[in-house]
């Protein structure tokens, strides 16, 4: 295997809230290879976005704080960089697309000034060159009439178009890593597919690795090479995307897959949601955080928290009972 582009090791990010200390990201480790598409999956509030913001160095402090761990990017630990050095990486080496296209663009600045900003910050291109590049980028993301768009404001574009502009912005300096934090959640389903195809295309063209953060398992199946499933701030299962569907090993992953409606299921079959509720992050159950909702849980699960371990097939699972789970699922 080649040297990973991004190596997150034992990352811990906490938030001090009125309800107490929230361990939003608790001992998370994963790697993203150059050029691959890696998906981080989990339900709302499981720490996916906080992981992404930690990588970007955009955790608002206070109340948030990265307590420990390493985020190596090209072999450099981002957590050790100064504010200035981190700014040089943001927008040039790592781009990010956010969830809300409606509010993620500045309403009072033109598309051109927002699109050329990263270029102006990170390159020495002349004004004309940056403007030409901006037109090129708008063309690239498939918005017609690029020249007219330059003088327009975000409110003159549709949600899908704004997200295309966000992609153009994030890709303007040809980053090595593009983080898409629920980038299509707020869009119509038909537009979602277009935007994802677009992200896939532009990142493939430039060899950019794509870190997709989503709760949508359909997206993972279609676009990701590898996937990590997150629950209550911890990774539960990491492996090849295809394997997650064919041979899920963590009870939570199985629960997620079962709760997705399928077109080929018999009419009238009820969905099988995961029993129970997402735990309160300020007051996690002892042992494995998933144990109260888990059908496989044994006594040990309520006392000890399982660590992410590599199984014989090469994937990583954090579950004491993964072998019996595997037998059951087959």
């Amino acid at each position: 295997m080649t040297e990973p582009l991004l190596k997150v090791e034992n990352l811990q990010t906490q938030f001090r809230t009125e309800g107490g200390l929230v361990k939003a990201v608790d001992d998370v480790s994963f790697e993203v290879q150059p050029g691959e598409t890696f998906a981080l999956v989990g339900e709302s509030g499981c720490g996916k976005s906080v992981t992404a913001l930690s990588i970007m160095g955009l955790i608002p402090n206070p109340p948030g704080e990265i307590v420990s761990g390493k985020i190596e990017f090209n072999g450099v630990d981002l957590l050790k960089l100064s504010g200035r050095e981190m700014r040089e990486i943001r927008g040039s080496k790592i781009g990010m697309i956010f969830q809300e296209p409606m509010s993620s663009l500045n309403p009072v600045l033109t598309i051109q000034s927002q699109l050329t900003e990263a270029l102006r910050i990170h390159t020495d291109l002349s004004k004309n060159a940056t403007n030409d590049r901006a037109v090129e980028l708008v063309d690239m993301v498939g918005i017609a009439d690029a020249k007219t768009r330059m003088k327009q404001y975000p409110h003159q574009l549709s949600g899908g178009q704004r997200q295309r502009i966000m992609i153009a912005m994030a890709m303007s300096c040809t980053p090595q890593l593009l983080i898409a934090d629920e980038a299509t959640t707020a869009l119509d389903v038909t537009i979602q597919a277009q935007i994802l195809d677009l992200m896939k295309d532009v990142t493939e063209q430039s060899g950019t690795a794509l870190l997709i953060i989503t709760h949508n398992l359909g997206i993972v199946a279609r676009y990701a090479n590898r996937v990590a499933v997150m629950y209550a701030g911890q990774l539960r299962e990491v492996g090849e995307a295809v394997e997650m569907y064919t041979e899920p090993r963590h009870p939570y992953t199985i629960g997620l897959l079962r709760s997705v409606p399928r077109l080929d299921s018999e009419k009238g079959t009820p969905l099988a949601p995961i029993a129970g509720e997402i735990p309160d992050l300020t007051n996690l159950p002892s042992g494995c955080a998933f144990s109260p909702r888990c059908g496989w849980a044994v006594d040990k699960c309520f006392e000890e928290s399982p660590l992410l371990e590599e199984t014989s097939s090469g994937k990583k699972v954090a579950c004491f009972e993964h072998q019996s789970v595997a037998l059951n699922v087959q």
Partner: protein
Amino acid sequence: MWRYIAQRILVSIPVIIMVGMITFTLVYIGPGDPAAIIAGDEATPEILEQIRADLGFDRPFPVQMGDWFWKLLHGDLGTSYFSRREITELITPRLQPTLSLGFQVVVLSTIIGITTGMLAAWKAGSRLDRNLMVLAVLGFATPGFWLAFLTIWIFAVNLGWFPVIGYSPIQDGLFAHIHSLFLPVMVNSILASAFISRITRSAMLEVLREDYIRTARAKGASELSVFLRHAFRPSAIPVATVIGASIAGLATGFVLTETIFAIPGLGRMLVDAIVRRDYPIIQALLMVVAIVLIGVNLIVDILYAYIDPRIRY
């Protein structure tokens, strides 16, 4: 845009007529008889009648009001009961002190208010922020006349840096002019800037929580650029509103300021006219104030469209 401005001006005509009717009625039904004041203590009823007839007071109320509006339409604000001079002629020399004072206060309070507000937002939660905001609360809790007397007492009477009273027109030199208005400008600016400062701070802090600020940071923008380029303009709308409102406040505040500092401006003229029951002057000045306020509102509304491209009229 021009269409909108034309529309707004058209709509303000009935407003001005309403203001005119109300002020005319209020002054008409108010106590005090100008004829008695003009004639003095030893006037006979015949002389009073004569004066009333001369001034047109013996005519019915609607006729008097109609006559006043008719003249107003022709740019005639009427004649002062006392000096017997045209009011337009009386107002002209009074314009400079008031306008100069107003201009300086608006510029200075905007600069002080926005700078301190932005500093407080930049260092939100710090000691600087807390101190600035305590000052701001003091600023709008302090009565203007009290601060005026205090500054006169300290800087004019005791230290002698500024004249206690007196006004030096621009024609006599810009420095002397600014020097003579320094204390009233400072007092009004400090008080007006307190509100602007607080609003700037809270508007900035609100905008800094927006998603697009995070986007700007994700692009690698420096904190200063995030602050000035991305956050300031979106937060300028409430600030513009407050500056507009403080101009409205100044229009009435100047009555006090000009009286305390003995500045021969419109505010002072209004007080003198009220004391003498010089109705035409009172009415004329109230009309001027109303028109200024309507104009300020219009300018603020146009500014909105300039600040935020989503607002189009």
